[in-house]
C-alpha cells in the first residue's frame, strides 16, 4: 500500500500524461497518426485491465481477447441489430465484461498458475468458431452521415477518438490506482505472493480473485467497445485472435507487470513501433517487421526482465526499499510481547473440539479417529515424530483440507470443511512450518493483510497491524521488505500477522523449528505472553524438550493417531510415546531403570 503522498503524486502524473496526450493530438497533423494514437490508448486500457488480475493478482491470463472481442461485438451488434448508439453500448460493455468475467472465473479459478493461464487461452479460441458459426465473420458498423454521425460516434475529426480513448485510459489508470491503494490491491498482492498464506490470513481469495477478473473483464470490454467504433469492421480473427490476447500480455510485460505505468509504457512504445515497422517495411521486405518487433522485445526482456518501468525506477534509485522509520526502537527486547491492556478472561470450557476426525490420502490414513478438546485459555501442545500427521491436523482445522470423517467445532460452532478465510474470520489464526510470507511486501504490509479480517476499514487495519508488531517486538523492522528478514524475524512477523486481528485461538506450526538457542528464548516468551493475554494456543512441535517446559497440556500423535495425552511430564514417560520416538528397545530400557 502506498502512502497518501505517493498516491497524490501518481494522480498528478496521470493528469500530466493526459495533458501531454492532448497536446500531442493537437500537434499531430495527420489522421493516420491520430488513429494510431487512439489505438495506442485503447491497447493500453486492455493491458491495464489485464494488469488488474494478472499484474496485481499474479494470475496470468493468455485469453484477455475474450473480453476485448465481446466488448467490440456488443457495440457492433447493438448498433446493427438494435440501432443502439455506442454512446450507450460502450458503457454497457462494462456489464458484459464483468458478467463474462464471472462466468469464466467460476470454473477457471479451480486452476492455479500456468494451468489457469492456459485454460484462459481456451475462451477466446472458443469464441472464434462460435462467432463464425453465428455468421458474424464480417460485421461492418453501418456508416452514419450528417447529424446521425455524432449520435453514433462517427466523427470526421479523428482527434475526438483520441479524446474518448484518453478518457478511458485515464479512467483505467484511476481504477488501477484505487486498486493499488485499497484493501483490494493488498489482497491481490497477497494472493500473488502466497495464496495459501493469504487464505489462512483471512483473505477470501476466491472473492477477490473473482472481483479482480470481473473488473479486469469490464475494463477490457469497454476498451474493446470503443475499438469497434474505431475499427468499424469486426472479425472474430482480429478481435478474439491470439494476437489480441498476446498484445495485452506483451505490453504489460514490456512496460512492467503489476505497475500502474507498465501497460501504458508498453503501449506507447510497442504499438507505434509495430505499426511503424509495418508501414516502413511491410511492402519492402514483407514479414521483416515481425522479426524486428520480436528482436526488440527479446532485447528488452534481456535488459530489463521485469519490464521497463521497474528497471527505470531501479536506475533512479527510487525502487529501493524506503529508509527505516524515524523513531528509534531499541534492539529486540528479551521478552518482546507487550501485554494487552485487558487480557481476555479464560472462560474455561473447551474452545476447539475434534470428534472422530479422519482423513486419508489414497491408502494412507493421515489422520485416524482423532478426538481432541482444547480448553479455552490453555497452551496445548501436540508433538509427534516427522510424518505423524501434525501439519495435516492443522490443515484440517483451519480448512485447507476437508476431513473425510468426523466433526470440528469451534466455540460450539461447526467449522468442518469451512474455507480457511472463513475459519480465520471465526477467530483462528495460524502460522506455518515453513514461514509463508509475502516476500516482496514490507513487514507492516504483511501484517496489515492479516489485520483486515478484524478491521472495519483500512486505517483500523493499519493501527491493528502496528499494535501487533509492537506486541511481538518487531516495530523497528516495520518498513523492511519481508524477503530480507532473518528466520527469527520472519517467525515473529508471521506471529504478528496471525495476531493482528486478535484471534481467540492460535495454531502455531513448528514455530520453534530452525531457531538458535538465543532466538528460541525470545519466541518462547512471545508464546507464553499470548496465553497470558487470554489467547488459546495450540502448538505443534517435534522437539520434545522445548515443549515440555512450555505447554500445560500435551498430546502425542503418531501415524495419524493420538496415542497419549496429559501433563507433559507424565506423557514423556508413557511407553507408547517412548516407542514412537525412540523405538521398542528404549521402552524396555526405561522400564528397567524405573524398576
Amino acid at each position: 500500500m502506498r502512502t497518501r503522498a505517493e498516491a497524490n503524486r501518481q494522480r498528478w502524473a496521470i493528469a500530466g500524461v493526459a495533458i501531454a496526450v492532448l497536446l500531442l493530438s493537437l500537434v499531430l497533423q495527420s489522421a493516420y497518426f491520430e488513429q494510431v494514437l487512439a489505438e495506442v490508448l485503447l491497447w493500453a486500457v486492455l493491458s491495464l485491465g489485464w494488469n488488474i488480475l494478472c499484474g496485481y493478482g499474479g494470475y496470468s491470463s493468455f485469453g484477455h481477447a475474450v473480453f476485448w472481442g465481446l466488448g467490440a461485438y456488443t457495440v457492433g451488434l447493438a448498433m446493427i441489430d438494435l440501432n443502439l448508439t455506442p454512446w450507450v453500448s460502450i458503457p454497457f460493455c462494462a456489464v458484459v465484461g464483468a458478467v463474462a468475467g464471472a462466468l469464466i472465473g467460476y470454473p477457471t479459478f479451480r486452476l492455479r498458475g500456468h494451468y489457469f493461464g492456459l485454460a484462459m487461452l481456451a475462451y477466446p479460441l472458443a469464441m472464434l468458431p462460435i462467432f463464425n458459426w453465428l455468421g458474424y465473420q464480417e460485421l461492418a458498423l453501418p456508416m452514419k452521415r450528417g447529424e446521425a454521425a455524432i449520435a453514433y460516434m462517427q466523427f470526421d475529426d479523428p482527434r475526438i477518438y483520441v479524446v474518448l480513448a484518453l478518457a478511458l485510459m485515464v479512467g483505467a489508470l484511476a481504477i488501477s490506482l484505487w486498486v493499488e491503494n485499497s484493501r483490494f490491491g493488498m489482497a491481490l498482492t497477497a494472493i500473488k505472493q502466497n495464496e495459501p498464506a493469504a487464505e489462512a490470513a483471512g483473505i477470501d481469495t476466491w472473492k477477490w480473485k473473482m472481483l479482480a477478473l470481473m473488473l479486469s473483464g469490464a475494463m477490457s470490454s469497454v476498451a474493446g467497445g470503443l475499438y469497434a467504433v474505431l475499427l468499424l469492421v469486426l472479425t472474430p480473427d482480429t478481435l478474439f485472435g491470439i494476437l489480441a490476447s498476446a498484445q495485452a500480455l506483451i505490453l504489460a510485460l514490456f512496460g512492467g507487470v503489476g505497475s500502474l505505468w507498465g501497460p501504458v509504457i508498453g503501449a506507447f512504445v510497442l504499438v507505434p513501433l509495430a505499426e511503424g515497422l509495418n508501414a516502413q517495411l511491410g511492402n519492402v521486405l514483407p514479414g521483416i517487421q515481425g522479426v524486428v518487433y520480436g528482436v526488440a522485445i527479446i532485447a528488452i526482456i534481456l535488459l530489463a526482465p521485469e519490464g521497463v518501468y521497474w528497471r527505470v525506477l531501479d536506475r533512479l534509485g527510487r525502487g529501493k526499499k524506503p529508509a527505516p522509520r524515524g523513531e528509534t526502537v531499541p534492539a529486540v527486547p528479551a521478552a518482546p510481547v507487550i501485554a494487552l491492556p485487558h487480557p481476555r478472561e479464560a472462560a474455561g470450557g473447551d474452545l476447539l473440539v475434534l470428534k472422530n476426525v479422519g482423513i486419508a490420502f489414497g491408502g494412507l490414513r493421515a489422520l485416524d479417529q482423532i478426538d481432541l478438546a482444547v480448553p479455552e485459555g490453555s497452551l496445548y501442545g501436540i508433538i509427534g515424530p516427522n510424518g505423524a500427521g501434525k501439519t495435516t491436523l492443522f490443515n484440517v482445522i483451519n480448512g485447507f483440507l476437508t476431513p473425510g470423517s468426523g466433526s470440528i467445532t469451534f466455540d460450539g460452532e461447526a467449522i468442518t470443511g469451512m474455507r480457511p478465510s472463513r475459519v480465520c474470520r471465526r477467530g483462528i489464526g495460524r502460522t506455518f512450518q515453513v514461514v509463508r510470507s509475502f516476500s516482496r511486501m514490507s513487514v507492516l504490509e504483511n501484517v496489515i493483510v492479516g489485520a483486515y479480517v478484524g478491521a472495519p476499514d483500512d486505517t483500523a487495519a493499519r493501527n491493528m497491524a502496528l499494535a501487533a508488531l509492537d506486541r511481538v517486538g518487531l516495530s523497528a523492522r516495520a518498513d523492511a521488505i519481508a524477503g530480507g528478514l532473518t528466520t527469527r524475524e520472519l517467525r515473529l512477523m508471521e506471529l504478528a500477522r496471525a495476531l493482528a486481528p486478535n484471534p481467540r485461538l492460535m495454531l502455531l506450526d513448528e514455530t520453534l523449528a530452525g531457531l538458535g538457542h538465543d532466538d528460541l528464548d525470545g519466541i518462547l516468551g512471545a508464546i507464553r505472553q499470548l496465553r497470558a493475554d487470554g489467547i488459546t494456543v495450540l502448538i505443534i512441535e517435534h522437539t520434545m524438550q522445548a515443549m515440555v517446559n512450555l505447554v500445560d497440556h500435551f498430546t502425542v500423535l503418531d501415524h495419524g493417531r493420538l496415542i497419549a495425552g496429559g501433563k507433559p511430564h507424565d506423557v514423556v514417560r508413557d511407553p507408547r510415546v517412548i516407542e514412537a520416538y525412540l523405538g521398542k528397545k528404549w521402552v524396555e530400557r526405561v522400564a528397567a531403570t524405573a524398576n
Binding site: Y32, E138, A140, V233, L243, N278, P286
Partner: protein
C-alpha cells in the same frame, strides 16, 4: 482551362485535334505522375495472394506507362503505391489511413483481397472519397450504401445463385442431358453454409429440378472421408457438389473418391471459389486427383488472353495465371481507363468516370468476363460466372463457351 481542353479531347473527335495542338502546354501542366494505390496483405497468412495481385499490377503498370501513360493527361505516367494490409483488420485499416494521410493526391485504388480487409480499408477510402476497386466477394462490401466502392467480382450470393444453373447448362451442352440428382459434401464453416443455404432451404434445388440424394456435412478437420464417400458410391448422384474450405479435407475426399473408383470424372465434381484453382492445391493434391474437377469462379483467364498468360508465366515463373494476378492486372487498367475518360487527375472525376463506364473492349474489359459497367451499388451488371476445369494439371476456363480456352469434360454417369 487545360482541364476543359482535355475533357473535350476525350468526348469529341474534333477536339482531339485541338488537344494535340495544345499538347505542349498540357505536358508542362500535367506530365507529373498520377497516383493510385494497392492495399493487399503482403505479410502474414495471406501474403501469397497479395504477391499475386502485385505481380499482375506490376505488369499492368508497365503496360500502361510503356504504352504512353494516360493520354488524356498528356501522357502522364501512372504511379502505384503499395501498402501492406498485414494480417488483421486493424493493420489493414491503418494502412489505408496512412495512405490517405500521406498521399492526399490519390485518385483511386484497389484491394485488399480478403473481404474483411476490404471492408475495413473502404471505411477509410469512402470517407476520403477515393474510388476503390475490389475483387472481394462479400455482399456486405456493396451493401453499405457506399458511393466509392466498385466490386468487379460477382458477390458471394450471386455466385451461389449462378453456380448450379450454370453447371447444369454446362452438362446439358456437353452431354445433351440434364443432371437430375445431386450429392453435396460440405463442411460446416461459414462460406459453405452460406452457399448451400439457398439451395437446400430456399428451394433452390427444386427450382432446378434436382433431387438431393446425398447430403453430408462435416466439421473440419476431416479425419476419414470413407463414410461420406461410401454414401456417394451407393447413391450415385449425377454429380457431386464439393464445398470444403481447407485443402487437407478436400484432398481426403478426392483420395477416397479415387479409392472407391469414383474419381477421374466417374462422378462429375463441382465446386466454387478461386482456391480450388490455386497452384497450392495442385501441390497438395496432385494433378491426377484434381483432373476433371470443375469450379465456378468470379474471374479466370479467358479467350483472348493467351498472349498475356504466356507473358505472365514467363515473367513471374508461375505455373499458370489465376484470378488474383488477373485482377491485379485488370484493376489498374480500369483506373487507367477511368482516368483517360475523366481527363483530370481528380478522384471525384475518376469516380464519376467509373460510374459512367461501359467498357466492352480494351485492356481493362479483356480482364473480366462481361462488360465493365457498375450499378448504383457498385456491382457489375450481367456478369456471367466462369467455370474452370482441371485438365492435365492446369485449371482452364471451359464455360461460358465464348470465353472458354478448352472444351469441358462432363462424363455421363454410368
Amino acid at each position: 482551362m487545360t482541364h476543359n481542353i482535355t475533357r473535350r479531347s476525350v468526348t469529341g473527335g474534333l477536339a482531339t485535334a485541338i488537344g494535340a495542338l495544345a499538347a505542349p502546354a498540357i505536358v508542362r501542366a500535367q506530365a507529373k505522375s498520377v497516383k493510385i494505390a494497392m492495399i493487399a496483405p503482403m505479410s502474414g497468412p495471406w501474403a501469397r495472394q497479395g504477391q499475386l495481385l502485385k505481380m499482375g499490377s506490376d505488369l499492368a503498370m508497365a503496360d500502361i506507362n510503356d504504352g504512353g501513360g494516360i493520354k488524356s493527361l498528356g501522357g502522364a505516367k501512372l504511379e502505384i503505391i503499395y501498402a501492406d494490409a498485414g494480417d488483421t483488420t486493424e493493420k489493414a485499416k491503418n494502412a489505408a489511413q496512412r495512405l490517405v494521410s500521406d498521399q492526399p493526391d490519390l485518385v483511386g485504388g484497389f484491394g485488399s483481397w480478403l473481404s474483411s480487409f476490404t471492408l475495413a480499408v473502404t471505411e477509410v477510402t469512402e470517407r476520403a472519397s477515393i474510388p476503390w476497386l475490389t475483387l472481394s466477394y462479400s455482399d456486405a462490401i456493396t451493401d453499405r450504401g457506399f458511393k466509392f466502392i466498385f466490386q468487379t467480382s460477382p458477390t458471394a450470393a450471386q455466385q451461389a445463385e449462378k453456380t448450379l444453373p450454370t453447371a447444369l447448362d454446362l452438362a446439358q451442352s456437353t452431354t445433351g442431358k440434364k443432371p437430375k440428382t445431386i450429392g453435396i459434401i460440405m463442411d460446416n464453416t461459414a462460406s459453405p453454409i452460406a452457399f448451400a443455404k439457398p439451395l437446400k432451404e430456399g428451394g433452390g434445388l427444386d427450382k432446378l429440378g434436382l433431387k438431393l440424394i446425398v447430403d453430408e456435412i462435416f466439421t473440419p478437420p476431416l479425419s476419414d472421408a470413407t463414410p461420406l464417400v461410401s454414401k456417394v458410391r451407393s447413391a450415385k448422384p449425377d454429380f457431386l457438389l464439393l464445398l470444403t474450405s481447407a485443402m487437407p479435407d478436400c484432398k481426403l475426399v478426392l483420395e477416397k473418391l479415387d479409392e472407391f473408383g469414383l474419381a477421374h470424372g466417374k462422378i462429375p465434381l463441382v465446386s466454387n471459389g478461386a482456391p480450388f484453382g490455386s497452384p497450392e492445391l495442385l501441390k497438395t493434391v496432385g494433378a491426377d486427383l484434381l483432373d476433371g474437377l470443375l469450379f465456378s469462379v468470379a474471374n479466370w483467364p479467358m479467350k483472348g488472353q493467351e498472349k498475356f498468360i504466356e507473358r505472365f508465366k514467363k515473367k513471374t515463373g508461375e505455373a499458370f495465371l489465376t484470378q488474383d494476378a488477373l485482377c491485379g492486372y485488370g484493376h489498374p487498367q480500369i483506373l487507367a481507363a477511368a482516368l483517360e475518360a475523366a481527363g483530370a487527375p481528380d478522384k471525384a472525376k475518376v469516380a464519376d468516370a467509373i460510374r459512367k463506364m461501359n467498357l466492352t473492349t480494351g485492356p481493362a474489359a479483356q480482364c473480366f468476363p462481361g462488360p465493365i459497367k457498375f450499378d448504383d451499388k457498385g456491382r457489375r451488371e450481367n456478369v456471367p460466372i466462369i467455370f474452370a476445369q482441371w485438365q492435365k494439371g492446369v485449371p482452364v476456363t471451359v464455360f461460358p463457351t465464348d470465353l472458354a480456352l478448352a472444351k469441358p469434360v462432363w462424363p455421363s454417369a454410368a
